[in-house]
């Protein structure tokens, strides 16, 4: 946790991002019968050197948002300004050059590493793809250096992923992401699949790398306590929209949106005496289908403070305190 770089220049600006997936019916003649509104109007900015947390439950659109920024998905609408350039308008070649600066770490270190490749080749592959270290010996030296940076012994280069533990594999995934000297890394549930005792190791590694290489992270996760530890600002998503966005401490100490509060309430604290004193009522209902999201505020069917107008009027994100944005008409 470092001091937020409030005056740092903006690195990424996402404007009115939308991503709808078509829903079709029929086997031969596929008819369009609807669309999944995975991301439905998302705006945020990310400053250089900052870590922004993107949290929410499955289906809230946090991963799709990350994939749109990586252009692994073509956005349906909206702009993604990276260092002032709109990624959605770039030609393939220009995009390739920019991709060197943006990397990703995936959730599952079991499925995101090719089981037929040696660890050394996995880490060297981005350098080959981008033709930045044509000399094999120097590439191998760089692989050894990256392994060391990620806390692995250089002789891991000759091993296969299946010979390693989950934590070690995730270190390989991180080394691969670092191979091109990126400035921005999207961590998509990067520690979620790991055991508790290993999770803290990887969180510390991500923090070390951030300091050492001046990295900017978009940290996509559902584990609120890890997000609180690692991030400077946090955006909470629900059903394709950001419902609250604030500095980390402000968000966790003064959550304003009823969904954020429900989310925080639902997390059990690892302490029986704290838990015994907590009065706790789980939020009712389940997340509605993004194919047919509720009108008005998407949270209103589950919301404990909803009023009549919530089912009609979609609340926009408003700045209720400096830097604290909330999409709820009932929050003053």
């Amino acid at each position: 946790m470092t001091a937020p770089a409030t005056d740092a220049p903006t690195l990424l600006e996402v404007r009115s991002l939308r991503k709808f997936f078509p829903v079709t019916e029929g086997i031969l003649a596929r008819r369009l019968v609807g669309e999944v509104r995975a991301v439905d109007g998302v705006d945020f900015t990310l400053r250089r050197g900052e870590t922004l947390g993107l949290v929410g439950e499955s289906g809230c659109g946090k991963t799709t948002t990350g994939r749109c920024i990586l252009l692994l998905e073509r956005p349906t609408a909206g702009e993604i300004l990276y260092d002032g350039v709109d990624l959605t308008r770039l030609k393939h070649k220009q995009l390739l050059a920019l991709r060197r600066r943006i990397q990703v770490i995936f959730q599952d270190p079991y499925s995101s590493l090719n089981p037929h490749m040696k660890v050394g080749d996995i880490i060297a592959e981005p350098m080959k793809v981008h033709a930045i270290e044509p000399d094999a010996a120097r590439r191998a030296a760089r692989v050894r250096e990256l392994l060391a940076i990620c806390g692995l012994s250089p002789n891991f280069a000759d091993r296969y992923p299946h010979e390693m533990s989950g934590g070690q594999r995730q270190r390989v995934g991180i080394a691969r992401a670092l191979a091109l000297d990126p400035e921005f890394i999207i961590c998509d549930e990067a520690v979620s699949a790991l055991d508790v005792s290993i999770q803290a190791q990887i969180v510390n590694l991500l923090e070390d790398l951030r300091e050492r290489f001046g990295l900017t992270y978009l940290f996509i996760a559902h584990d609120l306590s890890v997000v609180r530890h690692l991030c400077q600002r946090v955006a909470v998503m629900y059903l394709g929209r950001i419902v609250e966005l604030a500095d980390c401490d402000e968000l966790f100490d003064n959550a304003l949106h009823p969904y954020t509060r429900a989310l925080l309430d639902a997390v059990p604290v690892p302490d029986p005496s704290v838990e015994a004193d907590r009065r706790f009522r789980p939020v009712k209902g389940e997340v509605p289908s993004p194919i047919n999201p509720p009108l008005g505020c998407v949270f209103h069917p589950r919301c404990p403070i909803a009023v009549e107008s919530c089912s009609r009027i979609r609340p926009e994100l408003r700045e209720v305190r400096p830097g604290h944005w909330v999409a709820c008409s009932e929050v003053r």
Binding site: S165, A200, A266, P272, E275
Partner: protein, 333 residues
């Protein structure tokens, strides 16, 4: 009075290409009637295999329960004929598994899966079973139960499926429910709903609950007693308050220290457990936590220490230095 369930020196092995894995290596504990006991551990610690062994659900080959007794309501489940064992499973002992999609049958309706249990164990006729199934779905908080009974698992959300699993588990008024990571696949708000539901129902039925999880928060909220497992053994066991507030085993202490907590100020750095999880095919006779332990001494390599009392109310710990470590650092950790 004898406890409801008493497990004595249970051993389960798996033969793998890399050698024999002793997934459960001499586990003993007891569960009293109506009590909630948590089994905590990380992947490979043997917590799930231990629970499946109670019900003799270990696929053989490659697995085999090699030794031990499981005394349930006075009978040793390990000695029961298969037919009687089938009566116990889903009858006196209900089960809730992690992945409700794979543990429900995808080609049978929800209703059929509930009534099947009732017809099997309670010899209920169709009409009575149907009526009871509607009642059960209501109990687990599913609205419009008559319509839901006709649906298939894929038509339900993850949370709904887990509610159905719970309905099946409680269908025959079990004395014990074994829940193996019941909420791990679910979102946090749904997890909270399901746990509250299970907690409420087990109290109402006065059933005991064994909850297997890696989530230390879930344990703190619901369990009265906790068994911490590492590499196939229980390394620490005791009342939840003792385990959380004065842990004696270095692994328990390290585990509790490593998790960030929402109720505490942010820390500059997390304090992880060093090293890698144990490779179960390469364990020696010594304590398996030794390579990662900050307190390890030479004697730790000789033998795995037995569980011994370290505090009141049945607080047990399997560590040579359990007494001195707890006294020196327990309060701080």
């Amino acid at each position: 009075m004898a406890p409801l369930l008493e497990i004595k020196d249970l051993h389960t092995e798996f033969r793998t290409g890399a050698g024999v894995v002793r997934a459960v290596d001499g586990v003993s504990y007891a569960v009293e009637q109506g009590e909630t006991v948590a089994i905590v551990g990380e992947s490979g610690s043997g917590k799930s295999v231990g629970a499946l062994s109670i019900l003799r659900l270990i696929p053989d080959p490659p697995g085999r329960i090699t030794r031990g007794e499981v005394l349930f309501a006075g009978r040793d489940l390990m000695q029961l004929p298969d037919a009687q064992m089938r009566e116990v499973r889903g009858g006196d002992i209900g089960m809730v598994f992690q992945e409700p999609m794979t543990s429900l049958n995808p080609v049978l309706t929800i209703g059929r899966q509930i009534t099947e249990t009732l017809e099997q164990h309670r010899r209920a006729d169709r009409a009575a079973a149907h009526k009871r199934a509607i009642e059960l779905l209501g109990l687990v908080g599913i609205a419009d139960p008559a319509r839901r009974l006709k649906q298939y698992p894929h038509e339900l959300s993850g949370g709904m499926r887990q509610r159905v699993m719970i309905a099946i588990a409680i269908a025959c008024d079990p004395k014990l429910i074994i829940a193996d990571e019941p909420t791990t696949a679910l979102d946090v708000t749904i997890q909270a709903q399901i746990l509250e539901l299970m907690n409420g129902l087990t109290r109402r039925l006065n059933a005991a609950l064994i909850i297997i999880t890696h989530n230390l928060g879930v344990v703190a909220r619901y369990a009265k007693r906790v068994n911490v497992m590492y590499a196939g053994r229980i390394v620490e066991s005791g009342p939840a308050a003792a385990i959380y507030h004065s842990p004696r085993h270095p692994y328990t202490m390290a585990l509790l220290r490593s998790v960030p907590r929402l109720d505490r100020p942010r820390r500059a750095r997390l304090d992880p457990v060093d090293g890698q999880p144990p490779d179960l095919t390469r364990l020696d006779q010594g304590c398996a936590f030794r390579p990662r332990c900050r307190f390890a001494i030479e004697a730790c390599a000789k033998a795995w220490p037995p569980l011994e009392p370290v505090g009141p109310a049945g607080h047990l710990c399997a560590c040579l230095r359990g007494h001195e470590i707890g006294a020196a650092t327990g309060a701080a950790a």
